[in-house]
Structure formats: structure tokens, C-alpha cells
Amino acid sequence: MPQHDVLVIGAGLAGQRAALAAAETGASVGVISKVHPVRSHSNAAAGGINAALDPEDSWESHAFDTVKGSDYLGDQDAIEVMCREAPDEVLRLEHLGVTFHRSDEGKLGTRAFGGASAARTYYVADITGQALLHVLYEQLMKHDEVTRYEEWFTTALARDDSGRLAGAVTRNIRDGSLELFTAKAVILATGGNGQIFNPTTNALICTGDGIAMAYRAGAPLMDMEMVQYHPTTLAGIGLLITEGARGEGAHLLNAEGERFMENYAPNKMELASRDVVSRAEQTEINEGRGFPDGTVALDITVVPRHRILQSLREIVNVGRDFAGVDITSEPIHIKPGNHYVMGGIKTDIDGQTDVPGLYAAGECACVSVHGGNRLGANSLLDTLIFGRRSGVHAAQMGRGMAQPTPAGSELAREREAIQSIISRDRSGRRLSEIKAEMGKVMDEQVSVFRDEERLRGALEVVKRLQEEVKTVAVDDKGSVFNQDVLGALELQFMLDNAECIVMGAIERKESRGAQFRTDFPERNDDEWLKHINLTADGDIPAVSYSDVTMTQWEPEERTY
């Protein structure tokens, strides 16, 4: 039974940053990840990380952009913390070895990003997330007081008799053994849930495991309806073309060759907030001004070639390898696609959830700094700031505390659940078919434009699939790298996430940020300037509300 002061589940940027911060206080730390840490999805972040580091810039400006970007649903205390601490965090990472882009004078250099009033995005070519993740992993290799459980899959959280978080049940993927880990504090840093949708920019591992586990353990989920559709994804496979492309000056064109953003955001044009640009594109497509394959075009050829090769290399490769297009010489077809979940496990500014001893940070958490719409390059920042804060707080909280004792039944229950999946004979559909149906219904009915009727339809499908997955069988009957049985567990996690997303979307009867209800097309501050919280409660989640924290910015109309 492995024991730690702090147990971090997830080793993307949030998890690694939390582990490092906790270890630096002297706590014993375990980090669990279902894939090798550098395979975590944070490595896909191309564009960069925001910080008001330039003396000409100010954290207030960054904070205001974030508040406005969130469509006023972000909690302003949390946003202030994030933006104020951003410059030091970026410097810290620079000192640890991140090879940030430099200006001619050798100082940190920036690029422009959407929804921002200053160029404050720091970057490493277009591999920012990868560079940050690998540098943090270098530090984990250096700090041997952090124990890494690489390729271990957490299946459930465990509580003690008082209801306090006490550990987690985890399967060693290499040999199939199941262990109960105990810890004084558990930090969930399990990332997003994009795989619920098909297509998505998210990797195959982004299945919302931590969000579902926290929900099952009684923690409320907040603003789950807020799902970001990114304006520039490849049709079909959903791979992302970074916002950095528009940051470098690329244009969006409809099939008539018109730079249509003029009609939607005359000032910011392509660099308006993501929800705004995605809706503009979808409107063009729906009204027949898109290409026959349901796309519009992104024209990067207007960016100087040398600049493209220097800082957008990754998408040159993506265009070439995955769409057969040389983006330096021709426009590429793109459409809005699932990308990010703003909602998640409700936490305070130190990462604490409503369940004592349970923390969450990164994309699985909802602090909330992103509110209804996340600005580009604010997520990496979120993972690092709140990863660090959770790590520090969890370590301090555990100091002097006795090791808790999990109530005991969890390990046996999980073992039995896994065994029953493995030993079951096939009847009914394959896992892949259930997943495909979920992905399709979510993309068709719970995406850029939503309405009550189609949301209700989606909820029905999700509820049906939740039943179906309870009896699903798998092909792999082994113990070593049984990815099939893990797939079954992930699908259950995803369906819980899907249910909460749809529930939140039905509940929120207004249009704000990423949620656009064609039946309630206006933002309604009088009734809906509040968070929607969902708590597990038998068959359907219980709904409650909490206030949005305001400090210095009153809601205004949002134009770009």
C-alpha cells in the first residue's frame, strides 16, 4: 500500500507543477499518470502562455481581458491571482530551462493572441506546451523525492470514515495489479474530456477521468456546459491549427474569398475571442458561404514565409502530414471543433474542492478563471499557477496530520468491477460503437449552437449509453497492458462527463461565452450571472447555484 503525504493524479503541466511545488516544501509526493508524463496532453499546446511581464503591460490589463473573455462568468478574485502571479511563474520556468523565444536583445519575446489587448504570449516556436512539459519532467527526474508511478491508472478515489479523502485505487497497467494508495491530500490533475466529442483536438487520453471520479466522490462540478469549440481545426480528424497562426496575421476567408470577420468583429477581426470567431465561422457555414466540405479557409500565406518556418513549423507539418496541404503556399480548410472544457471540478484559489482533502488543478478543475470562454494561452498559465498553489497548500495542510485510513471497501469493489468486465462474454455492441455514438450526438447536438429540444435528445442518448456500457464486454482478457478494459472504464467516465455537460447546457437558459442557445439568444445577467453546480445524486445530478465573485469589473456588453 503506497503511502504519501501528497498524491498527485495526473502528470501533465498541472500535475507536474503541483508535485514539484509540494516536493519543494519537503513533503513526500507520489505522482500517478496513466501514460508516461511527457505523453500527457499538455504537450499539444502550441501557441504559448500569457503573462503581463513587459513593464509596459499590466496584470490588470491581462485580468480585464480574461474577465471580458470569460463573458463575466470568471471569478475575478481567481483571475487576479492568476494574472498577478503569471510573470513570476514564467520567469521561474525560464530559470528552470525553458527555451523561450527571445527578442533581438536576448530578452523574452512575445506574440499576439486572441482576445488580448497586448502581445503578452510567451512561446517556444510552436511547441510551447511540449517545452514546458519536458522541462518540468527534467526537474522531476532531478528530484528523486518525488516517486513517479508511470503507466498507472487510477480507477476511483477512496475516503475515510469521516468522508475525508484518503487515497485512490490505482491499477498498474504493466502487470494489472491493483493498489490502494493512501495520502493526506489528493490532487486531481487529470486534464480535459474532449474525447466525449468527435471530432476533437484532444488526444485519445483526454477522457475526463478525474472529473468523473471527483463527481462520484461527492465533489460538485461547476459550469460543465462551457465547452470551447476552437475556430481552427481540421475537418474530419479534428487536429488543431494553433491560434498562433492568426496571431501571426493569418486571415479567415469564406468560400467567396471574403474576410468575413469584418462583419462580426470589425476591430479585433480574426483575433476576437474564440467563441465569437467559432460562431462567426459556423454562421458562414450554415448560411451557405462555406466550402462543400463544411469548412471555411485559413489563409496563412499572408504571413512571411520565414516567420512561418521559424514559429509555425509544427502546423506546416500538420498541414503537410495530415491534410496534404502546404500552408505556406495555399489556404487550408478548417472549422470549429471541440477543444477545451472551461467547466470542471469546483475549487477555490488554492485548489481545494468541497470534499476535504481533495484538490483539483488544471483543465479538470474550475476555479473559475475561464468562465464562459477561455482565452488562448491562458490555460497553460492556469495549469501552472493553480498546480503550484494546490501543491503548496496540500503539502502544508498535511503537515503534522496522521496518515488517514481509507474506509476499505473501495479496493475490493474496484477489483470486482474490473474483473467482471474482463470475464464477461460478449453480448451487444462493441465499446468502440458506443463511443462513436456518444461522440456523434455530442458534436451534433451539444456544440456551437444549442437548443432545448436537441439537448434533451442528447441527454436521452447519453442515459441510454450509460446503461448499455454497464454490460459491455472486452476482447482482451489479460493483465499486461490491458488497454481494452481501461477503455471500458474511460467510457464510463466520459458518459458521466457528457451527462453533466448536457445537464448544465439545459439548465443555463441564456447565451453566454461558449454556450449559445438559439432559443435564448441573449446574455441574461439578471438571472444567469451565476455558476451552475452539479452534484451526484442518484439517477440525475442535483443542481445548485453559486455567485460569481466580482472585484473591480462590472459586466459590460462584449464587443471585439
Binding site: 520565414h306 462493441r430 497492458f481
Partner: protein
């Protein structure tokens, strides 16, 4: 197209499946399966998959998992050559499954033949296409002290460093630790202790980083390790297979140039002598005088002139079987040891040397930016042309 193909101006073979885009086509994947729990050895199984020609081999494998047998083991996540999970060998060549187009793989396999997919080489197989990266790849990464070791306390703000130096190390930073080069490396096959292409590229990420304070120690360590930077045989395999254009062999050459040029580290592996002999010979003859390579490497001059350093004699004797094999096979003739023709335009070679030596600092290629073979952009190409000479 691999970098090597680009350098050599080789054109890609035409893709199979000439049907229109986005239309599903039939392919057969022949996958090497291994179940460690069965007590049986590995076996082959063929899977028919129906996917569009521009989709990847990984999509093909996922198709087989989704439709036929979900127990096929393969690590994968991003589907976009970013996470580094899906290294395999396709038709014998190490590659990422997710950025190998299935129609290209079919073309390489030949019409009507199955596409052969096996686990990576040089690492133990755990199950099906999953290998033990920890036992080999990550152990080697750990070997090169893979974290920044700056001198003293960090500055209040950022370290001020030349913009180019950051771009320069970003090429090795672009490594996704997929292990594909490790799988392909010939030296590793012969000497499993070799630190290997990925770890040496990682080492350059620190050696080339002006913020690191242990440059000389790092170089000395890797020069003196008999399995270190001089254990590479310049076979180009790692450059050819690397999906991220990290060009590990180039990074190894830069380590060597740093070690010999900047720090004059005379290692016991005699890499310094070897490198110097190489450069001197090209300056004199324009081509490699293979028969003179061994003696010159081990002494500071030609064996014939009797200038071999005493310390190197032992190693030279150890290397004699190679020389004798060379003589026997006719690759090295006694005459060739004594006479080596000069290139007709040897004067031009000398000029290139002069031009390079007159530069204040050594010029390094940055393939990372020059990832393109068109020459329309001054800024980016300038750097490339320079190295073309070095």
C-alpha cells in the same frame, strides 16, 4: 519525406491507392503480436482495414482494434506526432505510426503485399507493439544528467541570451522522446551500452544552452565514456527516421565539435584525433583517405611518417583486425595506403576551409528552421548555406 531524402533530392515514391481523397480503401496490416502471459512466442496476424489513403498507419491499427480485436496493444494518444507514444517499425523501418500515411506504407510494402508492423527495435517487447522504453530509452536519458545546471543564483528577470542560441537548442528541445531513433540506431545494435542518439541530442540541449554552467564537464563526460559521443558511426539512420527533424547525429557532431574545437578535450577514445584526422584529410585531398584514417586518428599524423603517439598504439593494435579485414577484402589496398588521389578542384576545398576559418566563430546549421528546401527567404536560408560548407 525524410531529411535525408531532402538532402539527397530523392523524390517520394508515388503513393498507392490513387482513388479520390477521403474515400476509404482496403489495406492489410500484418501485425506482430506477442502476449507475455500466453507462454507462447510472437506470431503474425493480418487485419483488413478500410480507411482513406491519407489516414495514418495508426488509424489503420485503431480501425483493427475498433472493429476486430481490441486486445492489440499499442501506445498512442495524440494522433499528431506530438506525444511520442506510437513508435513502431513499418515494413522494417522505424517510424511513428500516426505520421506514416497508410498509402505510403502500402507503396513501400509493394502492391498486393501486406503492410508489416512490428514493435521498435533495440528495446525489449512487453506486449504486441509495446516496448520497454524505461529499460533502454529513459535510462539513457537519465544518463546525460538531463536538467539545466546554471551557475549561481538566477537573475532577477530572465537570463539574457542570444535569440539564435535559443532557436538553436530548440531543435533538440523539439524531441518528443519517441525512441524511434533508438530503435533504428546501428551502433546501439552492436553496443547496447551506447548512450544513443536521443540521449545525446538531449545532452546537446544543455551543452548548447548558454544558461548551463557545466558545458565542459558534460562534454568531457560524454567524450570519455567509451559508449559516449564517439560511439556513433555516422550511419544517418537516426536523422532519416526522426519524425521531428531533431537530427540526432547532427547534434552528436556538434557535441564533438564543441568538445574538440572549444575545449580541445583529448579523450581516451581518441575521438579528438579521429575528428582532426578527418578534417585534415579533407583539406589535403578533398575526399577521405580511408586507409590513413586509422593511423592518423590514433596519432597526430600518418603512421608512415612514424608519428603515432605511444598512448594510441594499444588501441591501434586492437583495431588492426579491422585493417587486415580491409586489406583482405580488397577495400584497402597497400597502394592506396601510400597514394591517394587529390580531387581535381582541391583548390576550391581549400578555399572553403579558408572562408570558414576566417569567420570569428564556428557556424552551426540550424535544420530546425531550414526545414524546407526552397531558397526564397534570406534570413532562414543564410544559416543553412553556411553549414552546407562545414
Amino acid at each position: 519525406m525524410s531529411i535525408l531524402d531532402k538532402i539527397l533530392g530523392r523524390d517520394e515514391e508515388p503513393a498507392d491507392g490513387d482513388g479520390p481523397k477521403n474515400e476509404a480503401a482496403g489495406y492489410t496490416l500484418k501485425i506482430r503480436r506477442y502476449d507475455p502471459e500466453s507462454g507462447e512466442t510472437a506470431f503474425w496476424h493480418e487485419y483488413d482495414v478500410d480507411i482513406a489513403p491519407e489516414r495514418s498507419v495508426l488509424d489503420g491499427i485503431l480501425y483493427a482494434k475498433d472493429h476486430e480485436d481490441a486486445s492489440i496493444g499499442i501506445r498512442c494518444s495524440c494522433r499528431a506526432a506530438i506525444c511520442g507514444s506510437c513508435g513502431v517499425r513499418i515494413n522494417g523501418k522505424s517510424a511513428l505510426a500516426c505520421n506514416t500515411r497508410i498509402s505510403d506504407a502500402q507503396a513501400k510494402a509493394g502492391r498486393g503485399k501486406p503492410i508489416v508492423v512490428e514493435p521498435m527495435g533495440n528495446m525489449p517487447v512487453l506486449k504486441d507493439l509495446i516496448v520497454d522504453m524505461d529499460a533502454v530509452h529513459w535510462k539513457k536519458i537519465q544518463r546525460v544528467v538531463p536538467w539545466l545546471l546554471p551557475d549561481g543564483e538566477p537573475p532577477e528577470r530572465e537570463y539574457i541570451v542570444p535569440a539564435e542560441s535559443m532557436i538553436d537548442v530548440t531543435q533538440s528541445m523539439a524531441c518528443i522522446q519517441c525512441g524511434v531513433c533508438v530503435s533504428a540506431c546501428l551502433s546501439l545494435e552492436v553496443d547496447p551500452e551506447f548512450v544513443g542518439p536521443a540521449a545525446l541530442a538531449k545532452a546537446y540541449r544543455f551543452v548548447g544552452d548558454p544558461r548551463d554552467g557545466q558545458t565542459e564537464e558534460r562534454l568531457r563526460d560524454l567524450a570519455e565514456d567509451p559508449h559516449g559521443m564517439y560511439d556513433c558511426t555516422h550511419c544517418f539512420a537516426c536523422i532519416e527516421v526522426c519524425p521531428k527533424d531533431v537530427a540526432p547525429m547532427d547534434q552528436i557532431m556538434r557535441l564533438r565539435r564543441r568538445a574538440t574545437g572549444d575545449y580541445e578535450i583529448k579523450d581516451k577514445n581518441n575521438g579528438y584525433g579521429h575528428g582532426k584526422a578527418f578534417v585534415d584529410m579533407i583539406e589535403n585531398w578533398g575526399t577521405l583517405h580511408e586507409a590513413q584514417m586509422l593511423p592518423r586518428s590514433f596519432g597526430d599524423g600518418s603512421m608512415i611518417k612514424g608519428q603515432t603517439e605511444p598512448g594510441a598504439v594499444k588501441q591501434l593494435v586492437e583495431a588492426l583486425p579491422t585493417a587486415i579485414r580491409g586489406l583482405k577484402s580488397g577495400k584497402v589496398t597497400p597502394k592506396a595506403v601510400l597514394f591517394h588521389p587529390k580531387l581535381p578542384d582541391q583548390d576550391n576545398v581549400r578555399k572553403i576551409y579558408k572562408a570558414i576559418e576566417s569567420q570569428g566563430e564556428r557556424l552551426e546549421l540550424n535544420l530546425y528552421i531550414v526545414a524546407d528546401n526552397s531558397a526564397d527567404e534570406e534570413g532562414a536560408m543564410a544559416e543553412g548555406t553556411k553549414e552546407g560548407l562545414a
